[in-house]
Symmetry: C2
Subunit: 411 residues, 2 copies
Amino acid sequence: MFNVKSRTEVFEIIKNNFTMESISTEKISLYDSLGRITSQDIFSKENLPSFNRSSVDGYAVKAFDTFGSSDSVPSILKLVGEVMMGDKPHFTIGSGEAAYVPTGGEIPQGADSMVMIEYTEDYSDGFINILKASSPGGNVVMLGDDILANEIAIKASHKIRPQDMGILAALGYEEIPVKRRLNIGIISTGDEVVAVNAKITGAQVRDVNTFTIYGGLLEMGINPRVYGIIKDDFGIMKNTLLKALDECDAVLISGGSSVGTRDQTLNVIEAIKRPEDAGVLVHGIAIKPGKPTIIGKIKDKAVFGLPGHPASAYFIFKIIVGWYINAMNGIDDAHKTPSIQVILDVNYPSNAGREEYLPVSIYKENGITKAKPIFGKSGLITTLSRADGYIHIDRNKEGLAMGSKVNVLII
Amino acid sequence: MFNVKSRTEVFEIIKNNFTMESISTEKISLYDSLGRITSQDIFSKENLPSFNRSSVDGYAVKAFDTFGSSDSVPSILKLVGEVMMGDKPHFTIGSGEAAYVPTGGEIPQGADSMVMIEYTEDYSDGFINILKASSPGGNVVMLGDDILANEIAIKASHKIRPQDMGILAALGYEEIPVKRRLNIGIISTGDEVVAVNAKITGAQVRDVNTFTIYGGLLEMGINPRVYGIIKDDFGIMKNTLLKALDECDAVLISGGSSVGTRDQTLNVIEAIKRPEDAGVLVHGIAIKPGKPTIIGKIKDKAVFGLPGHPASAYFIFKIIVGWYINAMNGIDDAHKTPSIQVILDVNYPSNAGREEYLPVSIYKENGITKAKPIFGKSGLITTLSRADGYIHIDRNKEGLAMGSKVNVLII
């Protein structure tokens, strides 16, 4: 039967078999960059700020002149000018002098500190009373404090967030170099599987996996390509897979990966592999749900055979295919995966020796956030949408105790 | 100066002032439904599964007939048929009888259990040896086990995930009723602010807030509308805000919300408000960063005045505007916000009396995931993109101890 591999072994096999550097690049508008992956380090072309900038409304001074100032003993400085927003000041601050600068304005030469307007008094007599001492550099962002010219602003292989769009805008990047979106093909198999708009007759079921995987790919910034529902026919399956391999970077086939009379995925991979292709790399992963998973390599492209059960197929898509997609894009941020901390509301026994992901729903009771396992027979579809996430149970653990703190992964 | 409100007070004000039921609805293709918000409860139109379905490859039996079976003492049942995938069986299972059914196939009438093929032996003599007892309902998903006709499949005001697309496909929904995407306008203000493609002269800075907010709105499924950079001119500002209010559901203005001579947002809101408009509802929130935030109400639409500093503006966008957007869409899942559990690598003092969100970067050291606060002067832009998230420090806390476990919110 299966020569079952652990998740870690599978990750190693993926890493060793697929070229991560093969993705071509393109330049896109900053407006379109959300969620795209940078294809190179992006450097600052200039110092930011490009001038010494005030971070408050107030007076530019030499800090030394304000030492010892207080409400009762103010320092009295001569007002020598006012800086307008966005303008370059054409005067300097000497000892005993001050000039008004608004938030974001440039500090005149000679000044090294800003006193907030709240700590000053202006009697319109050409002088300004300073009521509080200010330290050198106080309330000032110095030239280059934010980022220096030729420093890396955003690293290569980084998924662009709104915050990153901001720093790219600050540095004047209208166009961003990114990796091309991967194209991934989706094939559903099974004689019993019919289209979403079909009227069900006999023992048919509608195609669920195409849609969960389609949504999952979109969420990861991938172009999904739908190849429809393929009956359990070796010839059609083979031709469809060959077509998908020509048009896509990887192909996901759901259904037909358990040991049964109908199972074509394995046969088709072996049938179309050329002498130089590795063919089937993995058949079976020691993970619940989703054990009967296939990973193949044809023409340097990945072919995944996902379980037919929708909950298992989607789960393996997130855990295994998701890892492949991140690896292809050079993203390695597993330690930054968010989760929700909850209290488990039951005792849950688990089989040691196989890691398990337990689907749970999350609810709040008396101010405490709790998780309730979603029990249900294997193969239920509603399990998928009733789950808020999954609790990971290590292969060495025999279960989880009621009332224990657990992390729910949002998958 | 400010009549500063707590975050909770601000949430109450938003909830009490903006009509959540005003969003119109539309029907969209299931393929386009990821991230959209359902506009009504979506019911199952049928029983799922619509038949008693096998979840294994094996033999349909009366469980009673298998009781006591073992390797050494198998039960011997008469093979009366084979069910093909997707077909309706036209025979029944009587006492002492069995029929082959593949995974996903329909169980014939009379059978109440499936025996996995691994626990059977077939000597091709018209009989099948059962090597293990099976319980009633074992390996069978009964009609309606997944969902019953007229049961709610997806609730109203639910953000559609890939999993939800799956259940909608299973139930035959090609088109999904969703709330119209909100249109939200973005206005940047400030005489010193120039476009991303501008060559910087004097003390100018490029427009950052338009892009962080644009990306943030996209991420929340909102249509952003960019109104560009408005100089600190009362007339232009007023006309732009009026135009944006006509075209959008809400308007976000960044810059100009602190107490200073340039501050127009407050004046413009007050100037354009009609007698029936509430005008300024909030001016100042007791939250760091982002204290000088304005919330106004004109023509039943929200106007947010965000701080000018990019890090503060984006932060208030996520915490306050994000809450407004969720409230408008009827989403209330704050207890499902994921975070990353880390060890804080420094002592961090905080001002009691004001809640604080401390930006941190996350890294792994000796197998431990840690957070390092991003220190830096107020107004730095790189703070934004260097942060992986924020640690929330309650208003009653005086700080956080080095080595303590903290949750990092991914914002």
